[in-house]
């Protein structure tokens, strides 16, 4: 079979099992779009802005575990994609982004819509390529998918000059099943000696604590985490990225940890004697002041990326490997050898944890005449029976969703944790809905974040994506306002928006259903009504309490035992 470069790209995507590509056409990718037009195996989803394409591919990847694919043109197409690429990079999301490039002879001449895409994206990709010749095109694409999806996953950019996609130049094509790279061989199995050492240490634990992160979700190791935790009878906390990896409704789960984590999770971190970190990277929002981090604990760290180990916090027993493999090996050793977990010590530990839990650190004013954002999230969980994908943007609403929605399954909670990208929620939700057409997909957002990619409401109509948008509208950039209240003496510099659109009319003008909900007693009914509209996108504009803050909170530079709690009258 002889194919042009453009046809090779499309045929390769099909052979690689890619069903959806999110993109936006332009000059440098016109040949590729022409090849897309002439087939129907790979479905192209047309977004309204390249950032949306990359976030949608990202949401698709997070919800399925399969690599997301985006296609954009050169120059502004590539630069618009950068925020999405960096978002995926920070959260280790498998993704391949194809960027068009000006024709090879023009490269470096400041040609129309030319940008050094490889240079611009270099610091925020796992790897990137500029394809230099047509004969390298397929192998480069194969490498891109291999790199993106193995080891610690991440985005890979492939920059393709337009002349390499010329429909008149054809070369033989046969799908490459596998590729070998001498410079890239990710570790899978954990070192047996390290695993034994870790198991020995765990057996001595009187106050064990499991701190698990996004790596468990990415490594599809939720089942192993559950088995491991239940065998130990240990408390378990999830990071923001790890929510859902351990069921939130299980009694061993003590909630999220970190800056806006629960009192019980953070205190258990502070007081534990053996900390088992699993697929988590000791992010500053998790650790607080590293000098005060887990002062009495020996630390075991399981991670696929050696550079995550002892980066921020020095650990005692590192184990590099695929989480699923390592946990399986550890479970097997723990179950067969002696001694088994110390029941008496555990009972004492749990008594202490229950005392912390008894403080009910997530309490809020339930008698308020205004809608509390937490209440909306609790109702969302109740009305959907917890059975919905939830994407979010960034800010207070993201923290409320993380704290109040009880995620029982992995890949259900989709948010930009590392980069903290406002504008992520709506396009990511589109990607999730494309991947799971019959599931409920909710986007929890705020009136500031949603406006950063609002144009994608148009994409949602084109593809009839019945998203449920929960806009927690407090007329403020809530998290900015909260920090200004706490740390800038209530000088609310530019965190207020006086000229918000009428979101109901806005949704309607895009062809969707809009609702405005102003009273707490209407929340439940509105959510039920929206969920019943199975085939429509519903934009629910909840007018919430402007003064609400996210609690508990550890201020930057403080330790886990120095939390601020909410004071209620």
């Amino acid at each position: 079979m002889k194919l042009s470069g453009a046809e090779i790209i499309v045929q390769f995507l099909k052979d690689e099992g890619v069903e959806h590509v999110f993109g936006y056409p332009g000059g440098a990718v016109l040949h590729i779009y022409d090849a897309i037009f002439q087939q129907d195996a790979v479905r192209h989803i047309l977004v309204r802005h390249e950032q949306g394409a990359v976030h949608a591919a990202d949401g698709y990847a997070r919800a399925t575990g399969k690599p997301g694919v985006a296609l954009v043109t050169s120059g502004p197409g590539a630069t618009n994609a950068v925020t999405g690429i960096a978002t995926a990079y920070m959260d280790s999301i498998p993704m391949v982004v194809l960027t068009g490039q000006v024709i090879s002879p023009y490269i470096g001449s400041d040609a129309f819509q030319e940008v050094d895409a490889v240079g611009i994206t270099r610091p925020c990709v796992k790897h990137n390529f500029l394809v230099k010749s047509l004969k390298d095109l397929q192998s480069t694409l194969k490498k891109a998918f291999y790199i993106a999806t193995t080891g610690r996953p991440g985005p890979v950019v492939v920059d393709i000059p337009k002349d390499l996609t010329d429909p008149n130049i054809k070369i033989p094509y046969k799908y490459l099943e596998t590729i070998e790279m001498r410079s890239y061989q990710p570790t899978v199995k954990g070192h047996p000696g390290q695993i034994s050492k870790a198991v020995d240490l765990i057996r001595t634990a009187k106050r064990p604590m499991i701190y698990s992160g996004g790596g468990v979700v990415l490594g599809d190791a939720s089942e192993q985490l559950i088995e491991f935790t239940r065998h130990l009878g240990s408390p378990v906390t999830n990071t923001l990225m790890g929510l859902g990896a351990y069921p939130a409704t299980d009694p061993l789960f003590v909630g999220m940890l970190g800056m806006h984590g629960t009192y019980e999770a953070n205190m258990a971190m502070h007081e534990c004697d053996v900390l088992i970190a699993i697929g988590a990277r000791f992010d500053d929002r998790v650790t607080g002041d590293v000098k005060k981090f887990c002062p009495g604990a020996k630390i075991i760290h399981l991670d696929i990326d050696p550079s995550s180990i002892s980066k921020n916090v020095k650990v005692d027993i590192p184990i590099v490997g695929d989480i699923k493999h390592v946990l399986t090996d550890m479970i097997q050793q723990l179950k067969t050898g002696e001694p088994q977990p110390d029941e008496k010590a555990l009972q004492k530990w749990w008594k202490q944890i229950e005392q912390w839990r008894g403080k009910n650190c997530l309490r809020y004013d339930r008698n308020s005449a205004l809608i509390k954002p937490q209440f909306v999230i609790e109702k969302l969980w109740e009305v959907t029976g917890g059975d919905t994908f939830v994407t979010s943007d960034v800010g207070q609403h993201q923290m409320f969703a993380a704290q109040f929605f009880k995620f029982d399954k992995p890949r259900r909670w989709i948010n930009s944790g590392g980069l903290g990208t406002m504008g992520f929620g709506l396009p990511a939700a589109m990607g999730v809905q494309i991947a799971h057409p019959s599931e409920t997909v909710s986007c929890v957002t705020g009136e500031a974040s949603i406006q950063m990619c609002i144009q994608e409401l148009s994409t949602a109509l084109q593809y009839m994506l019945p998203l449920k948008i929960i806009n927690l509208n407090n007329r403020y950039m809530g998290m900015v306002r909260q920090w200004q209240e706490f740390f800038y003496d209530k000088r609310y510099s530019h965190s207020y928006m006086e000229t918000l659109p009428d979101f109901v009319k806005l949704a309607e003008s895009y062809g969707h259903v809009g609702m405005r909900i102003e009273k707490p007693e209407d929340v439940d009914g509105a959510l039920r009504e929206a969920m019943a509209l199975k085939d429509r996108l519903v934009f629910m504009d909840f007018i919430t309490d402007q003064t609400e803050n996210v609690y508990p909170m550890i201020a930057a530079g403080k330790g886990h035992n120095e939390m601020h709690e909410r004071e209620l009258a």
Binding site: H127, S183, P306, S307, S310
Partner: protein, 164 residues
């Protein structure tokens, strides 16, 4: 602490900028960096001299290993090693006294005079960075017209070899 990190990497366009970008993005020090192809044209060998605490050096080697283009690396300063740097130095040699002095110093340091004009001598010198510093230190600075140093390259002593 000063460390010498030797890297075998794919001889690809952009590989150098990945390493340089990593150092600048993460705030690591680079004292010197040299790179050239090896006997295998598909591989380049890079030598980076850097400084940092043990924890930082550990991160540097891990982050370098993570780069897809890096095939293999070693911190050769961890064991016995040989370190060499090449310097070419152009000196004013406008009088007999100066010429004799330069010739004498070059001999002492095992240097070679590569180029002679009416008014200048150009000396080639190899050795450790310290030796090159010592040579410069022994000269009257006002006679130095130009100095170019390659940065350090190095290799482990004995059987140990950085190869694939």
């Amino acid at each position: 602490m000063r460390h010498i990190i030797s890297i075998l990497m794919e001889n690809e366009a952009g590989a150098l900028s990945r390493v340089a970008g990593l150092f600048s993005a993460r705030g690591y020090n680079i004292e010197s960096l040299t790179v050239a192809p090896t006997e295998d044209a598909s591989l380049s060998r890079m030598t980076i001299v850097t400084t940092g605490t043990e924890a930082i050096i550990e991160q540097i080697t891990k982050q370098l290993n993570k780069l897809i283009d890096v095939v293999k690396l070693a911190d050769i300063s961890e064991g016995g090693h040989i370190e060499r740097e090449l310097m070419l130095i152009k000196l004013r040699a406008s009088s007999n006294t100066l010429r004799e002095e330069i010739k004498r110093m070059a001999d002492i340091f095992n240097g070679r005079i590569l180029d002679v004009t009416e008014g200048t001598y150009t000396v080639e010198l190899t050795g450790s960075g310290e030796k090159l510093d010592a040579f410069i230190g022994s000269l009257d600075h006002s006679t130095i017209l130009e100095t170019v140093r390659s940065g350090a390259t190095g290799i482990s002593r004995g059987e140990r070899a950085l190869q694939i």
